[in-house]
């Protein structure tokens, strides 16, 4: 049969017709997906891409101080720049002030060295007149920092249109005249914040697993009527607004809230415990919010596991606990993997709950990104932090895919 099929291939016309039909089919399915694709590109891929691009773009200084940027391009950095650069600076500052672009350039420079912003603005107020004599000493007279090569070094770096500096700053590194260096310990924020984000996410994931696995097991093994009733308790919170659920914890966790009142009444505590605006609040709130994902992911897998496996194991002589551990749990690994992956990935980017229940100095990365965007207007740094967050998420995804397989991802 096989030899016959080889000797007698399908006629060319037949193959072409088949391919044409397949192409038409593919085009039609593409047409169905087109609105979604357009939507995704417009509101998801494009903004995210733009934000990520911001992490390497640096237009402010080059735009505000074009002549200085050009003058510094050839500067070696060994000594102070020549006096034309000083003159260019005076002219650029004057022009930028007029155009209103000076403030954003000053803000950008401030990200290199605190105080740079006030230096620029102060200089702008008392700008030396090139006609009145050599400009360089006049700048130094306004502020001695103009006489330091390091100051000019920062301006040089800041005037590059493509910069690695935000990406470096987002992991507490800085490019100085003598290469890369770590920020002084008191200024390092982000490495610790990434570590903290991982730790909080990991803890939340573990708590969700410990709390959610038995619930999923119960849901999957109870008779359908009871199981459906119990499922309501999982689903209804899932449908409830995130904000409502998070603020509900205020009521419970306040110093004079329900939990503290109960503890005090039971005589377990004298003073109210600090349960919110700290790590405890974040863990409690996030675990609560993310628990349904863990439960549903495990439930979906467990529901497909016939009880006859455990029965078979017991009939073969295994104690029920051994049967559970050696026969049931391994079959739920896809559920554990999916739940862990979902909860962890959602947790590392989580914002509202830690923002509302967390404490100062204990922020997660998402809070720091928001802070850079809303308060500091430092979109470059916000973009850089987002780049790392996206990379971390992708790394988690690849680890998950390697061990569990994304095709096994299912929910409900």
């Amino acid at each position: 049969m096989a030899a016959g099929a080889e000797a007698d291939p399908m006629p060319r016309a037949g193959r072409d017709a088949y391919r044409a039909a397949r192409r038409k089919e593919a085009m039609r399915s593409l047409a169905f997906a087109l609105p979604l694709l357009v939507f995704l590109v417009a509101v998801f891929l494009y903004p995210i891409g733009a934000l990520l691009l911001r992490s390497v773009q640096s237009e402010d200084v080059a735009a505000a101080l074009p002549r200085v940027s050009a003058g510094l391009a050839a500067w070696s950095g060994a000594a102070l720049p020549p006096s034309p650069v000083f003159e260019a600076l005076a002219a650029d500052i004057a022009a930028a002030q007029e155009r209103g672009t000076l403030v954003s350039a000053a803000r950008r420079l401030n990200t290199y060295e605190p105080g740079f912003r006030s230096l620029i603005l102060k200089t702008a107020r008392r700008l030396p007149d090139p006609a009145a004599g050599p400009v360089a000493p006049a700048f130094v007279a306004i502020d001695p920092r103009w006489g330091e090569t390091e100051t000019w070094h920062f301006i040089q770096r800041a005037s590059a249109r493509i910069t690695p500096d935000y990406l470096l700053a987002a992991i507490d590194l800085r490019a100085g005249p003598r290469g890369l260096s770590e920020l002084p310990p008191d200024q390092r924020i982000y490495q610790a914040a990434f570590a903290r984000t991982f730790l909080i996410s990991g803890t939340v994931t573990l708590l969700c697993l410990i709390l959610g696995y038995p619930v999923a097991y119960l849901l999957a093994t109870l008779p359908p009527r009871q199981s459906n009733r119990l499922m309501i308790f999982v689903i209804v919170p899932f449908w409830t607004s995130l904000l409502v659920r998070t603020t509900a914890w205020y009521v419970l966790l306040q110093p004079n809230g329900v939990v503290n009142a109960l503890l005090a009444q039971a005589g377990l505590t004298r003073e109210p415990l600090a349960l919110m605006f700290n790590r405890t609040g974040v863990l409690v709130g996030m675990t609560h919010v993310l628990l349904p994902f863990m439960i549903l992911a495990n439930y979906a897998v467990m529901r497909g596991i016939s009880p006859s496996y455990q029965r078979a194991a017991v009939s073969l002589g295994a104690h029920p606990a051994i049967a559970f551990l050696r026969v049931y749990v391994p079959q739920t690994l896809p559920g554990i993997g999916t739940g862990t992956f979902l909860v962890f990935v959602l947790a590392i980017g989580y914002y509202i709950t830690p923002a509302l229940l967390g404490g100062g100095g204990d922020e997660m990365i998402s809070q720091l990104i928001a802070f850079q965007m809303d308060r500091q207007l430092n979109w470059g740094l916000a973009g850089a932090l987002s780049v790392y967050l996206v990379l971390l998420t992708l790394a988690v995804y690849f680890v998950f895919n390697h061990f569990v397989g994304v095709d096994r991802l299912r929910l409900g």
Binding site: S308, A312, V314, Q331
Partner: protein, 368 residues
């Protein structure tokens, strides 16, 4: 391997009752003795309580009343994992995350058998089921028949003296089912284990078993060897359920020369061997196998006679089936073997048939 040993029975059910909901009994008053080394089938329609009986013995359900003993020991309080009963489930329940060898080693490993001995016994078990080289595969990479063999090997490898099988061949196609029936019988003979085998396929039960227990409505209707079940049904349910049967329903009017006399509602009487507990006045059924009837008016010697009209003749290769319409006896089927040189009547023709008193049995119309 016969059922009736003088010694203590291996398994006994005495006065076992089971209810799941507290309202109706799924098993009512079950009494059963199984001899060591016996192959006993539980045969009955779906929902008749076969699986429940097996689960009671395995320990996954506990009886609502009565006691079960195994080898002289009362089982009621013994948890299932300590019963040492091998079990084969309908869907095999092979552990999907373990290889074939790991599946078979599982009962040994939970018993703390040393690794080296495990390997050796698994290898022997794989040889026994002729899957020697497939030990490293996952169950999902095996065909249905191969999975079935692995399930068998896993249930036998720890050398239980009792093995329970719940419709183990139900998921296989016909040809494979026959091979596996033979295979299971071979293992049974070779190992001498006691097997309790649940099935709803009477052919399977009759060909494989030493004895068959016919279940209906949570009770055993009859427990006997395949031959007795077929030749000597004790009630109308068993007569109808096992093989093909013509049932003529009427009333026992008396006994004559060792035969029971049955009168149909229309007044015709027939004689046949009498079922054990019948008394005059009882509702009864004359049970008659289609192949015992001859197309012949008979010579009147200890024979029942009946006349009717041919409705249809069906050619079945080795025999013909003739459907008759008879007045009082209703619809009637006879089987004529292809060897008989009888000249058969044509459709719509009247015909006289007869059968010997000894070839039919008059049994209780009620089930147990």
């Amino acid at each position: 391997m016969a059922a009736s040993g003088a010694s203590e029975p291996f398994v006994t059910f005495s006065r076992i009752r089971k209810t799941y909901d507290g309202e109706s009994y799924v098993i009512r008053d079950l009494n059963l003795e199984i001899a060591e080394g016996e192959f006993l089938s539980l045969l009955g329609p779906s929902g008749s309580g076969k699986t429940t009986t097996l689960m009671l013995l395995a320990g996954f359900e506990s009886p609502s009343g009565g006691t079960i003993t195994l080898n002289g020991r009362t089982l009621n309080e013994l948890p299932p994992h300590k019963r040492d009963i091998g079990m084969v489930f309908q869907n095999y329940a092979l552990f999907p995350h373990m290889t074939v060898a790991e599946n078979i080693a599982f009962p040994l490993s939970v018993r703390g058998v040393a690794k080296a001995e495990q390997r050796e016994r698994v290898a022997r078990a794989l040889d026994m089921i002729e899957l020697g080289r497939l030990g490293g595969r996952k169950p999902s990479q095996l065909s249905g028949g191969q999975q079935q063999r692995v399930a068998l090997a896993r249930a036998l490898v720890f050398e239980p003296r009792l093995v329970l099988m719940d419709e183990p061949l139900g998921a296989l196609d016909k040809a494979l089912r026959e091979t596996m029936q033979y295979e299971i019988k071979r293992l049974h003979r070779r190992l001498g284990v006691t097997i309790v085998y649940v099935t709803h396929d009477q052919g399977e039960a009759l060909t494989m078993s030493d004895r068959v227990a016919v279940f209906e409505g949570g009770a055993i209707q009859q427990i006997a060897s395949p031959t007795s079940l077929y030749e000597d049904p004790e009630n109308a349910f068993v007569a109808d359920f096992i093989g093909e049967n013509n049932g003529l329903a009427g009333q026992v009017v008396g006994f004559d020369d060792g035969y029971a006399v049955l009168t149909l509602p229309g007044g015709r009487t027939f004689k046949g061997r009498a079922g054990g507990t019948l008394k005059p006045g009882d509702a009864a059924v004359l049970a008659l196998r289609p192949e015992r009837v001859t197309v012949d008016p008979g010579d009147g010697e200890a024979q029942n006679r009946l006349s009717g009209t041919v409705e249809e003749i069906i050619y079945c290769g080795d025999h013909r089936r003739i459907h008759l319409a008879t007045g009082q006896a209703g619809h009637f089927v006879i089987k004529v073997p292809n060897t008989q040189r009888t000249i058969l009547p044509a459709n719509g023709e009247p015909v006289d048939v007869s059968w010997r008193y000894d070839d039919c049995k008059i049994v209780d119309a009620r089930s147990a």
